[in-house]
Every structure is written in structure tokens, then in C-alpha cells.
Symmetry: C2
């Protein structure tokens, strides 16, 4: 048994942003709010709910202001918004009273960054340095996200040192959390274990977050490897919603309900209600009108005799 | 990095038996043969192709004789048949020249065994002792399977010692391989790691095989944990076909293509062609006329720049 395995973890639900963003059909604002409220009832203390990107780029998320304004979750739930640049941060800050964390991001892969936000990594990081400072000055938490941390189809494996240098730069600017994203589902558990061992060693005092996709079914194996390396912070998406706009075929994030099932069965506490998450995912399924790819949504939680009344 | 991680593994494809068995609509014998032949071309050296159970119990597998007779795979492919009892073994042995391995089984859970084959574990094992001897005397390999090794919904966790005692009894009778089945998808990677560490220690000289289901999305995490414990033999089902008749909702085995993708990305050799497995799984999808739940079937293999021509 791993001595570095944490006995409890934090899970941020990112479906309402990272998941919904990839849905081709517009989801009604009322439906989004109902689903976010259901997630709040499931016990999440961190939910990513909106993105302040240009509405013509991602029309699906153009109702961020309304979502933030009307969402109704317990007071201790920390809502996160994602901003791609200073303009996005300006817009987000108009709703300053309605959220608690801001995510900024860059791709470790130069090519992926260019395709995703049409800027070089240096240009993005220069803007990020300023944004992180502003976010901190506002008294908000800043969670930096490094996309393609485990490699990308255009450039292959990204040098680990390069990824951790970016992480350290974010931390020096004032980010309290750095999330490492497996944007195109290219990580494997052997590398994930090595990666998080190195990241946790290199970033003392920073919350190190694992953000895996389940593109090739290995997402939970990667999450387990990260956990064994000592990682105690994860992001996932209810119903296995999500993916990445580029390249095509980059399917969903890891399913929150499958991740929570795995952790609970291992005796790792999450503070979450698995049945309530499954209920929210089933509601998402009916809102979206298609079968989602999460497994627990079909099987339900593991039933042990003691849990059968 | 784990020092016990093998650098190559054996994977038995069990879709043509364990997978097809769970399909409600009858699959044409010609389609089965075409799919098995495709699996042979993908490089599998072990394929479970038939079961000699009563045709009224599992009509889907009543064409075992025809499948064995007409399947066309390379000479070095070891075909396996599963037999539930001595009667089944009698029937199987009529096709003795067409297969190389026989699987016999028992459930570690008394209740599951009763529900599955309507006999006590003792009754099943008494018959198994005789069958293993006969199989060995025929010059065939005998692979014993212990279902519900990691627990079952009726009895909960099954004492590890009880499971390994059954395994040792099989080995003493002459089984060269013991497979531990997570029949209802109840295992977690922490327990899987402990389990295979103990099993490998207890069963020197016996091939120890991991047979996981992906009922709650954790199947590959369990396989990774078993690998890290030193397990070098796995069973999986192309297209994520499979499950278990009891209880309801016990969905598919782990998907071979996702398992192979994970191993190859980790640098663990399988001797298999991932693109050819995905092709076979896509063919199964079109034969079955429904979307299968494997992930690599959608995403394809990981593309690294070096693999892009």
C-alpha cells in the first residue's frame, strides 16, 4: 500500500464549464442552473460554472452572467470562472460578488496553444502574469491550468521540466493552485505517476490538481496513479461530459461519478454523495437527450450487503 | 516506478465467449467466425471462443461446435473453451482436435455460485477436481477461473484466504493457470493491488490472470494496479462486450483495445496490433447494430507526431 496515498481528496466538478462547452446543441440557461444546483446538493465545494470567452467563439457559454447571477448553491461552495485573457477577466469581474476562484490557462505545447488561443506560449504567459496579479489583488483564488501537460498530438511528449517551469511561474505570480490537464487524453498511468511525483516535489505549498480525460478509457487509471503519487486534488465532469475542441475526437473528461466510486471503494473520502452525483448525471442525460458514456450512470454505486436495507 | 511491473504481458481475448454470451440478440455463426478470425489477425495467441453449457441455458453459445470447426486462425493461436461441468467437458472433448485450453470455474461467493450454477461451492469443486485431472490427462491446458474473487453484492468482500485456497486447490489438481474474476465489477485498485501481490506470492509456478470488468469505469485502474503488483496475464473483451447474467446491470468486461492502448503507452509489450483490434471491435459494433462502450473505438490509438506519416 502506498504511503503517499491521501486519505481524502478534493474534487472540483467542471462539467458546467468544461463539459457543457463541448455540447453542440445549446443548453437552456434554466437547465444549466438546475444542474449546477443539483451538483451543489451533491456536496461539491468547488464547481467551475462559467467561462468568459468571446460569445462568438463558444456561444454555448455566452450566458455566464445569467448563470452566475441565478445559480443557488450553499454558501460554502466556491464557484470558479475561466478567463482566456485580460478582456475576459474584465468581463468576469463585473460579476465579482458571485464567484470565488478564477482559472487562467496556457498550453504547454506551443502548437496546441497557437491552435487553441492563437497566441504563442510567451504571449499567453505575459498576459497570465498580469492576470494572476489582478486576481490575487481582488482577493480571489487563482487556479492556473496547464493544458497538454502530458503531451499533445502535434508535439508529442512535452518536456516535464518545461511544464513544471510554467507551473512555477504561475505560482510565483500568485496562483495558489496549478492544474495539469491531459487535454487530448494522451497520458498513461506510468507517466502520470512519475509526473505527479515530480510536480508535488517541485511545487511545495501549491495545490497540485490532476485533470484527466477519458479519451481512451485510461482516465481513472491515470487518476489512481496520481493519487498514489500523493495528489489530493482532482477535476472531473459529471456524466463524462467534455473533451477538447482541437483535435477532433478528443472525447470526454473523466466521469465524476466513476472517480468518486473508485475513491470511496478505496476508502478515500471525498465528502460527496455518489447517489446525488449519479442523479445529477442522469438529469444531464435527459436534458441533453443522448446516452452519456459514464459507467456508474448505468450500474449505480457498488452495493455491498451492508448497504442493502 | 514499480520494480514488479512486467515489461510484457499476455492478453486473452474473451469477447467471443464472455462477450457474446451477454448479447440478447442471436449473432449469426458466420459473423462470430468472421470476428474471431479478425482477432486472430490482430495477433492474439489466446482466444476464448466457445462454451459447452446447456443450449437452453445460453442459446447464444449453442453453436460452439460449428464455431470451433470453422474458425480459421494461425496455428500458434491457443483456442479456449469453457465448461461448467463434466457433461460439458464430455461434449467439448468431441471437438478435442480444435482447441488447446479448457476453462473451468467456480464462484468464491457461495451465494453467487448457487445463483449461477445452482450448486454449492463444495459440489462445484468436487466436480472441478475430476475435470481438471481429465483435462490434464488429455494433454490440454486447464485454466481455472474464480468468479467474484473481489467480492459480490450478495456476500460482500470474500475473504482473500478463501479465494486463494480455492486457487491452490485448482493448482494442486493440475490447473496451470488461475484467473481471478471481478464478475460484478466491484473491485477497486487499492484492493486489486493487494490481492495480486498476495496471489502471486501464494501461487508460484501458476499463471495468475486478472479478469476485470468495467462496470463502474474502474476496470483499467484495477488492471494497472494488478500490473504494478507483477501480474502479467490479463483477460479482456473487444468492444467492451460482456458482463454477467446475475445480478442485472453487471455491464461489460474491460475493453481489450483500451487495455492494449494503456499498456502500449506505458511501454508494456502485448504483441498485439491495436489498430487491428479496434477494426475488429468496430466490425463487432456493426454486426451488433449498437454503439459499444469502448473508448478507443471512438478515439483510435494515441497519435504521437512520430506515428503521423
Amino acid at each position: 500500500m502506498s504511503t503517499r496515498r491521501p486519505d481524502h481528496v478534493h474534487i472540483r466538478e467542471v462539467g458546467p464549464r468544461d463539459g457543457f462547452q463541448n455540447e453542440p446543441e445549446r443548453i437552456a440557461t434554466d437547465d444549466k442552473i438546475r444542474l449546477i444546483n443539483a451538483l451543489g446538493r451533491a456536496g461539491f465545494k468547488r464547481i467551475e460554472v462559467a467561462s468568459f470567452v468571446r460569445p462568438d467563439v463558444i456561444p454555448q457559454l455566452s450566458d455566464g452572467v445569467q448563470v452566475l447571477d441565478r445559480v443557488d448553491v450553499p454558501d460554502d461552495v466556491s464557484l470558479m470562472v475561466l478567463v482566456p485573457n485580460s478582456k475576459g477577466l474584465d468581463n468576469a469581474l463585473k460579476m465579482r460578488h458571485r464567484f470565488h476562484e478564477v482559472a487562467v490557462f496556457v498550453s504547454a505545447s506551443e502548437t496546441h496553444n497557437k491552435k487553441n488561443v492563437n497566441r504563442t506560449v510567451d504571449e499567453t504567459m505575459a498576459d497570465n502574469d498580469v492576470m494572476v496579479g489582478r486576481i490575487k489583488a481582488e482577493g480571489l483564488n487563482c487556479a492556473a491550468v496547464i493544458a497538454t501537460s502530458f503531451g499533445c498530438p502535434y508535439e508529442g511528449r512535452i518536456d516535464l521540466k518545461r511544464v513544471l517551469d510554467l507551473a512555477e511561474r504561475f505560482a510565483e505570480a500568485g496562483a495558489t493552485e496549478v492544474g495539469f490537464g491531459d487535454t487530448t487524453g494522451i497520458a498513461n498511468p506510468a507517466y502520470a505517476g512519475e509526473f505527479f511525483t515530480a510536480a508535488l516535489e517541485r511545487l511545495p505549498g501549491v495545490e497540485v490538481t490532476a485533470h484527466f480525460h477519458n479519451t481512451r478509457g485510461q482516465g481513472l487509471a491515470n487518476a489512481f496513479a496520481a493519487l498514489e503519487a500523493g495528489c489530493a486534488s482532482f477535476e472531473s465532469s459529471f456524466g463524462e461530459l467534455g473533451g477538447c475542441p482541437v483535435p477532433a475526437g478528443s472525447t470526454g473528461n473523466i466521469a465524476t461519478e466513476d472517480l468518486v466510486s473508485m475513491f470511496h471503494e478505496m476508502g478515500v473520502a471525498t465528502g460527496l454523495s455518489l447517489p446525488a452525483i449519479i442523479e445529477a448525471a442522469r438529469e444531464a442525460q435527459s436534458v441533453l437527450g443522448r446516452t452519456l458514456t459514464s459507467h456508474s450512470i448505468i450500474a449505480g454505486p457498488v452495493t455491498w450487503p451492508s448497504s442493502i436495507a
